[in-house]
Symmetry: D2
Subunit: 296 residues, 4 copies
């Protein structure tokens, strides 16, 4: 019987990095969580404990901080710099995947004017990227997470099959709420204005959620993905994971009250979970773009 | 040896309530988490299991939902309605404390215009209230939590005592960051425009954090509390709990780089924790206002 | 109008400390989270930013680590050492409160034999202490948290008042589950075998929960507190916070099935929350023992 | 330009199910979290909102509860029953994936004797399974998560490459700690005693962690996977995700103290993350076994 090492990777997870651009009196803040993973010919450390090929995860962390000294810029570019460095600097490291989450901050308004160096956190929403470099090729999957949205009407759900276990009533007016996790694969790794692309995609997701009359969360998911692809030619594919954050109508009839879609309880668990991909027909093969990322 | 029952309370915690005001085409959303606690002559259930005085926590939950049918309004008013109901309706229930957290939502902008019925979550920040009613008297302690703020300069820390365990360097320029939890006791329970008061207090906290040059987080805390009391005569007392969310300068010298307050790592634990009270000299005794709330 | 500084404290929260006693081949592990708070004449830093009296929270952290070098021992003793040091070493620091949580580890069994130096985490349960020293007097409040228990029968709930908002059915057989948080105040600060006391209290809580036939969670709470006081003369008072972790019977009748207390769904929120105190009649006044701790 | 629907799935996540086997005076408890996902020809709901093929996630939840009435048994068998039902009952549902986590409970000891119907939670550790059924074929990937382990000696790390960003000191004696997430793919879906297999695998993981002298966490990972494959012929492949929960030696030298591997601080973030696969050479192709699961 033979046993052997299969696919593997290792790195430093959740390096918390905050940079301040102090070139002028108006400071600029970047707040990132960076995770690095390296891949390659790593049999020796696994089989014998010989670490000659193991770039220490502490070294990976140091590299993140040292590279930040020159300015972080867009997270996609920073991740590419890091991935290219690791794969180019060590003989047996042939691949790298860099995950970055960017946490937003707003300037505090003082007397209505944005302050030069005081900020407040913008909430749970995060801009993300997952950059993979392998054998000189790069893949970029960027995304958004923690974007929680709700519409108080404009959502129906009916026409689903009824079997012996079905008790759900059909509805022509329900609250629809979800916390969007979206990831989109770019068709290329250069020549893209990452910020502009992100802003436009975020807007397409939000506007489609708001305006698309919904007969199912699946329909909303597809429409959101389609809107992104229609708006941004640089995107080859969008994957969405949409928890259905149920808001159940409270039965007020025992108290002699009607509830005309006014009073709801927001449930934690269980929740529906709708996951899917919307893809351009002529998209190039995704290669390693999604490897070891969540499927949706 | 005698053993007896001391202070006690019971209720339903974390009732998740979402209401939609659908009176016109523009919907209005309220998203609350409500916790009720009742107090009174409750020896019987504790000592013998006789529940004749125990308003079931399920009934408390139902009451929250039924009362929401008439509209929630300001959280302070909704809590007062609930507390007054419970203490007025059951012979042995002599006190009630209602905690409410309000979660914010913004309208989604579609083509630059706020949408009628589509919303996105505003982040972790919550507006809170803790209303206590006992023997016909009411106390209101409102607050804010999850307000995370950071200033990238304008903060020093030096002049502290040095003993054999002191290694911290003095600094004349550091990042100062905290997640504000503030609670303020109102001097009276009626005749207050709760929303206006909240907005003004939130603004005073933020503007003071931004503009007060800080020699210690304690100094910032006091200035923030003082600003609230100066701005709002209806407030008798402010209590603040300010974790010092440390951002440590990364030592880049091993890599031949200078770090001129540009690259930081944001630490999770441990963290400084600064807690204090700022109070009006002529404030009435706080009575039961703070009973069973966090001290700061 | 006068405004002034009220009660306050500051310190370092959540210092993660792990010690290994390596005096023999069999290692002994301590895994603690320590939070320190100092109190005193701290007006200067609050009002002017003069930090001459502010023992830096970084120094507090260093002191925790330095003191651990001599061995931690029982958490109550370690907290007393720290509190006594801080109040004895700085002129304007007149009080200290030290919180410690101890996280349990079990030895890994290899071939049935406990290993000398390999351990596995024992779960969420934590042994806690809160030690306060002020003006030479000490108070000890120890406790347990995260002790989740469930009984699948032996619990009833009926006889509660029914008003217009009551829909809950009476039951003579339900699941009763809770996550016990208990804190007990010791009547004195010395001459106590802390470990033995803790073990006996934990056993009294568990055995009472298991064997007391329950007509309400309040009755169970009182019985648990009473059992502790009866078993341990060194304890003056017990405070318990017991969330009622509801397990609701699933209605299987739409599927033509009876559910004879066999199939339940475990709900997250909302939950009942039962809080109370059981106290010895001749208990000395609690002084500062509970100051700034949760009420229950 | 064409846009189309790519891979997708949907279902009900985190159904909390607790069952009590009350056939005799000694009750038996099962505490599960079940997530269902269905796959198939689901274009209609995505493209048009026609839900004729959409088995409602509420129906999926009901089915979980109804099936539990007959007894849950081993989680692998329960998941297989559910997956087979869904794929066999609806024309356009061609695949199903069922995730189950089992939460452990111990009997409370009363006077040294295990109680018939009172239990305490066994901690964070969970037994898991992910069962996939597609076109009549079944794949079983079971696992363990939340198994936190630590060894206080018997771990070295040296010989790693040093570049300009390397500052880590080599060590011949460090604490090694991790929270094991392991998933193993069974080579077949029937004829396996799931409980016995689980217990043996858990023991192999623990004993190997304890006894394998470690030159790197990668070496420990491989040894753990290899031990599982050597012990259990029914397992084709093991995937492990091992966060390196760093315990850093505290520098006590500023206080005039030596720290001979006695006093550590346990860091939260960042952490090393070592992920890998150990596989039997003659393992059958994994098919859909891992589809949409975490890679490691």
């Amino acid at each position: 019987m033979g046993i052997s090492l299969g696919p593997n990777q290792y790195g430093k997870a959740e390096v918390r990095l905050v940079t301040v651009d102090r070139q002028g009196p108006v400071h600029h803040l970047k707040d990132l969580t960076v995770s690095t993973s390296l891949r390659g010919r790593l049999e020796r450390t696994h089989l014998t404990g010989d670490n000659a090929d193991v770039v220490a995860t502490d070294t990976q962390k140091n590299t993140v901080y040292a590279f930040a000294k020159d300015g972080v810029g867009e997270i996609e570019d920073f991740a590419l710099r890091l991935a290219t460095h690791f794969t180019g600097s060590f003989e047996h490291i042939t691949g790298a995947r860099i995950l970055i989450s960017e946490h937003g901050w707003n300037r505090i308004a003082v007397g209505g004017t944005p302050h030069d160096h005081a900020f407040s956190r913008a909430g749970d929403e995060e801009r993300t990227t997952a950059v993979t470099v392998h054998d000189g090729k790069a893949w970029i999957v960027s995304g958004i997470t923690g974007l929680t949205v709700l519409k108080s009407t404009g959502s129906e759900f009916h026409g689903f099959p009824r079997d012996e276990y079905t008790t759900l009533a059909e509805t022509e007016d329900r609250i629809l709420a979800t916390a969007v996790t979206a990831r989109w694969r770019y068709g290329r790794a250069d020549g893209i204005n990452w910020s502009e692309s992100y802003d436009a995609i975020r807007r397409a997701l939000l506007e489609t959620f708001a305006t698309k009359h919904s007969l199912s969360l699946q329909q909303t998911l597809y429409a959101m993905g389609e809107a992104v692809l229609e708006a941004r030619p640089e995107v080859a594919e969008v994957r969405l994971s949409l928890p259905n954050k149920h808001h159940f109508l409270v039965d007020l009839s025992p108290f002699g009250l009607a509830n005309e879609n006014e009073v709801f309880y927001a449930a934690d668990r269980p929740y529906g979970l709708i996951e899917g991909t919307v893809i351009r027909d002529d998209a190039e093969d995704s290669g390693l773009a999604w490897y070891s990322l969540p499927e949706f």
